[in-house]
Structures are given as C-alpha cells and as structure tokens.
Symmetry: C2
Subunit: 376 residues, 2 copies
DNA sequence: GCAGGATAATTACACTGTGTAAATATGTGG
DNA sequence: CCACATATTTACACAGTGTAATTATCCTGC
C-alpha cells in the first residue's frame, strides 16, 4: 500500500508469488480496469519491465470529522483531491442537526459529481474515537446512521468507517510523496485536536489496526478536567486546545496557521518550560503505553514535532520514568514528523483508496489479493 | 486448542473445511500418530461419529521460572504431569550460577526419561518479562543461552520460550477441565508474584499474543519503589509481595498455602481497606490499559479473585476514573478466576503442548493446520 | 538491417488441496 | 433381514500455484 505503484519483480517478491502467478493476476486486474501498467526499460539489455499503478480513473470519497468540522473530499486512488468542502460541526450538535449537516454535504457532492459524470466507487469516513464498543463520549452521535443517509444520496457507494488516528497513521505512512520512511512495527502518536495513537504493523492490514486512546490515559490523579469527563487525562495536558492558553493562540488561529503556527510565535521561557512539562507527561504516558504494547519505534506527529529538539528531551525524561528497562535511543527510536495540521479530509480519502483496494470479493489468502496489496 | 478433543463435525465447522477435507486430514494425522480417534454413538440411528484427541503417547517438557524458583515438569499433551522438580532460583543469581542450576535440572530429567525410555518431543519455557526487546530488568539473564544447555542434555528437543503471563493465560483458558468458559477477545490479567496481562484473541494463535506489562504502568508519580527500578508502578502496589505486609504473611507462606491463603486469615478492617485501595489502583491501571486496547471482557486471576465480592467494587471505582466512557457491567465484563497459586510448571507444560501442535512443517494457511488447531 | 545476447512476460504442464456429490459403511428399530 | 438415518470415504471437477519451456522485447555489435 504505497500509492506510488510497483514493479512486477517487487510485487512478486513482496507477495511471495512467482512472476508467472503475478502475470496471471495482473491480467485479471487489467481486465477489471483496476490497475494500469507501463513498460519501462530498466536495464541496458533485455525486455522492458512493467510498472504497475492503480487506475487513475477511479473516484473515491473521503469524509473526515475533526477540528470541529465535517469535511468532504472527492479524489482519486493516489489521493489527489478534486473537490473539498468543510463545514463547522460542533460536538454539541444534536443527532438530528448533525445528520442534516451530513445530508447537506452529500447532496452537494451528488450535484458536483452529477455535473461531471463521475461515479464514486468507494467512500470512507474517519471519526475520532470510532470503534470503541463502549461508545464515544466525545462525539456521542450514532455514526452508523450516516450509511443510510449516504445510501440515499449516493446509492451503491460502499462506506467504511474508521478511527481518525488510524486514517492519519495510514496517510502519513503510505501516501506519496509525503509518506515517512520508517519500516517495521511502530507506534504512531498523533497530538492534534485530540491525542491518540495506533500501532502500525506492516504485516497486518490497515483495517486490522486499532486505535490507542492514549489521550485518555490518566497520568495525574485528580488532575485537569478532560472533555471525556475524567480528570488528569493526557489529552487535558497535551492536545492543541490544552496548549493554546500557554502559547497565547486560540485553537482556531492554530488551525488557520497550520504547521507554521509555532514559527510565528516568540514563545517566552515560562511558556517553553510549561511546554516541556507537558512533553514530560507525554513521555510518561508513552512509556506506560509501550509497556503494554512494546514496539522499537515511535513516530510522533503533532506540536512536539514543531518544538526545538532540545525541548523534546523532556519526552525522553518522561519515558525514563515509566518504560520498563528505561529509555535509550538504542532501544527506542523516536521520530518526529510534520503533523500537516488542517489537511482534512486527505487522510480519509487515503483510507477510502485503501478500502477500495481491500474491497470486493477477493479472498484474503489469495495470491491476487496479496499482489494487489503490494501495488496499493 | 481445548486439550479435551473434538468431534469431526466441530472440527469441520470451526476450521471452515468440509467433512471430506477433515477426513483426509485426519487420515494423515493418524498415520503420523499425532491424533487418536474413538468412534461413539451419538444419535439414535446412524453411524457412530469420531471423537478426536491428541495422542497420549507424546511426552513434552515444561520449564517455568516463577515464584523465585525454577520448575521442570514432564507430561503429556493433555497436561498430565508425570515428573516435577522445583529448584529455588533467586533473581540475584549470576548468569553462570543460573545456567548451572538449569543444567542440573536438565541432567535430572535426562536421567528420569532415560530410565523409562521416554522420548521428549517438545519443550517450552516461560519467563516473566520475556519477549521485550528492551531487555528484562527483573531477570537480567541471557535466557536464550539455555537452548544450548538443553541441546546438550536433551539433543533434538525443540525449545520455545514465552512470557509467563502468556503461558498462564493459555493454561487457564484452554486446559481441561479447569479452563474458563469465556469466549471472544478479552484481557487476561494475572496478579501473582508479578503483575501482567495478555490480550487473548481467539482468532490469533497463542504465540502471536504479546504480554501486557501492566504491572509496570506508573500509576502514582514518585510512588512506591518497584523492583524494575521505577517508582509508582502498579506491581509495587498489587503483587503478592506488595500485599504480604498488609495481610501479615510472608510470600513464602502464601506460596505454600496456595489459593487458600486468604481463607486462613482473619483480615482486619484496616487491612481490608488497604487492600481495597490497592484494588482501586488496579482498576485505574486497567482502565488506562483498556483505553489503549479495548476489549469487552477482562479475566482477573490473582489475589483479588480470593477477596470478598463487595471489596472488588473498588476495581470498578478505579475503572470509572480512567476508562473512556466510564465503566458499567454492560460495557465491560469482569470475571474472576482462581489463580492456582504454586502450580508451576503446569502452564509451561501446556504451552509446550501447544507448541508441539503448532510445530512442524504445517503451512499456517493449510486446512490440515486449521483442523489440528481445532483438535488441540 | 540483422543476429546474438540479455531480460521480461506468457503459457503448457504437473501438482496440491479444496468442495461437491455419489458411494460405502455403520448403526438402530421394526 | 430390511428400511432408515447418520457418518465416512472417495471419485471427480475446479482453482491456483510453481516449474520450466516458449515467446516477446529490448540493446549492442557487426
């Protein structure tokens, strides 16, 4: 799932099939107009080899609920957005008002694709906190009803839901050219409007991932109140909303400025000290989380990525207080990547592409499925 | 993996194969002397059906490092122990002294099985904290060297290592008749000499489980010192060693008395209050853990299972302070099972049985493999 | 321009393991 | 002893794989 395509040799190697099997499978997929292939000369002598990409002619829909807004985007399997609409959506909306907003958005899409003769093949929606059987205390809406509404506006388009941090992790990991180059199992930690993580496992399909609600780990008994109703949650200390009073910007300002919001400031020493303390708590919670699910690498996407590297040492200090065996750079690799604040619904569109590839009647064990996953 | 065998119809159903395929596969396994089959009349008319069990003639070895002792046991695939030896093993032993102890134990086994003409087919060893790439701060020995020592004493016997809590979870879950009857994904939490958990996932093989080092989650900043070197770990509050001063028994006494250790006491109100506070902290950590890996059920095996049910409410109180969405019996099922204190090395023997079944050249995707797993 | 060599893709063939359904086996009751 | 019910086995067809031979497609040198 790399969005940039693959050579036949690589597909064969990574899917554990022979070139012969890959050849048969690609013939099928070409007939179904799912992949495209361009032969390229890659050696001085010999026949050109095929470079296989996903078809550009497949339109998909990404819907994202984040940053207190509901975003819709139509694009292709590579993640190129051709249509975007973002609508304010407060968590305080009633179920009915929220559904009305959603229906309005899908009606606008129907109009846009109707004018262009575009047929949507897949939709995906990411929601913070989605997937927990215990319910979602932050967005209490019945999200599954949206499938009915989408079915009315866009009949026949399959819709898949996922947790926002899973879509974010998949997007940051696999999109081209932005994807980060960290292989192997790792924890992807996102500190934005919400704080959450996900274990990224190269051997598992993305839809087998589950979100780590690390933001609601209680790291300070009777601490700051959190929007989830408890006290002392990590998110109460480390979300963008939690640090906006420290740096003197509203979270709407932060959303407008995007990744550059920290540059525009002159953060005074007192604020920097407070931010370091928040990063220490992030490290403490991270260590606790890694005790439960040990991985050798952590990728952090959020405001700590925008902080000076000297301040990030506080995360290591916090890790040292909780991680079993202690922290050292040899044992645990910490990477920081740009959060790309305000890019919704790109992550959901990316997840829709993934779902399209994963979808249909392909037997998960089959060679065809394995080969297609290597192309994606 | 139920240790008690299965009917052909059940094997076919659970492994998603037809009776025809199961019939072919069982023929192969009978030829290899891995399974036995006894036909039983189960209906008023009609042919008798086959009840398939694992062969009793296969001898395996379980080695367990727990309760400050090194235990060896030889038995069969059903878990019946025929030989047991337990040797004191302090964590302060040097690598050399520990290896010497291990060699002594394996020499005794070689002598015992030699006198009886028994050929061991599989060995497994469970070690607290095993499997973490960051090393084991509690047992700092190089455990993998034991494979060399076993290879010298018992050539040709494959040895598999696992974390103690994984072996405990598999043992409590699948052994017969003791196995607990909770289906679906759940968290198995063991509070004994150490405190740890494991997510039990019926769809995944046991050796894909990984231990939850929930015992080393820091739940009290600058709290009680833990044997791992940090302060405020859950284990510092809730291991048997941590509560032994509260109830006025040494942990050696606890080990001797087994599951009955709480009955023999008259725990005064002050001690009961202190134990409830410890259970509250267990609940708080449990909630944090379930935020990261959400499951609908938790099975607790340890001293809280031996406490009065009224006192266990403290666990729910702690859960309510941390679990996202709060705790209610509808959302999260808590079950308590007897810990079977002091039964080492039964859990490791059970894991050895599992490894034998899992072992050999069976393709994981194959029907034969699936069928065998249903028998085990 | 063509032949030789190198490399890639295709395809004939054999093999494996499955499901289906027919054939066979094994019991009970009248 | 036979009819009926149930279980097991097995012949057959099918699907998808790897192997290796065949075919295709390029570049270089003559």
């Amino acid at each position: 799932m790399r969005s940039k395509g693959a050579f036949r040799t690589g597909i064969a190697r990574d899917s554990n099939l022979t070139e012969a099997s890959v050849s048969r499978i690609l013939n099928e997929l070409r007939k179904e107009n799912i992949v495209e292939e361009k032969r390229q000369q890659t050696s001085n002598a010999g026949a050109p080899t095929g470079f296989v990409t996903l078809s550009k002619d497949i339109a998909i829909l990404g819907i994202e609920l984040s940053n207190s807004r509901l975003s819709f985007g139509v694009g292709d399997l590579k993640g190129t957005l051709d249509y975007v609409e973002r609508m304010p959506a407060s968590p305080q909306l009633s179920q009915q008002d929220f559904e009305h907003l959603f229906a309005e958005g899908t009606a606008n899409i129907r109009e846009w694709i109707g004018a262009r003769g575009i047929a949507l093949r897949q939709a995906a929606m990411s929601v913070p906190g989605y997937g927990r059987e215990g319910g979602n205390p932050i967005y209490p809406w019945d999200i599954r009803r949206l499938a009915l509404l989408l079915g009315e506006a866009l009949p026949g388009v399959p819709l898949t839901f996922t947790n926002s941090v899973i879509a974010q992790a998949a997007f940051h990991r696999y999109s081209y050219p932005a994807g980060y180059d960290i292989s192997g199992d790792h924890l992807f930690l996102f500190a934005g409007h919400g704080v959450a993580g996900v274990i990224v496992n190269d051997a598992a399909p993305v839809d087998a991932f589950s979100a780590f609600e690390i933001g609601h780990m209680v790291i300070e008994r009777d601490g700051l109140p959190c929007r989830c109703g408890h006290k002392g949650c990590l998110e109460a200390y480390t979300s963008l909303r939690a640090i906006s009073p420290i740096i003197g910007l509203s979270d709407a300002d932060i959303l407008t400025r995007g990744d550059h919001f920290m540059e525009a400031l002159s953060v005074d020493p007192t604020a920097r000290k407070a931010l370091r303390e928040r990063q220490f708590l992030l490290g403490l919670a991270l260590g606790n989380a890694l005790n439960l699910h040990s991985v050798p690498k952590v990728v952090i996407s959020g405001w700590p990525s925008l902080m000076p590297e000297a301040d990030r040492v506080a995360i290591a200090d916090g890790l040292n207080q909780s991680l079993l065996g202690g922290y050292s750079p040899e044992r645990l690799e910490l990477a920081f990547i740009e959060p790309l604040i305000g890019n919704d619904p790109k992550a959901a569109l990316h997840y829709a592409a993934y779902c399209f590839v994963r979808g249909g009647a392909l037997d998960e064990k089959s060679g065809q499925h394995a080969a297609l996953e290597e192309i994606a």
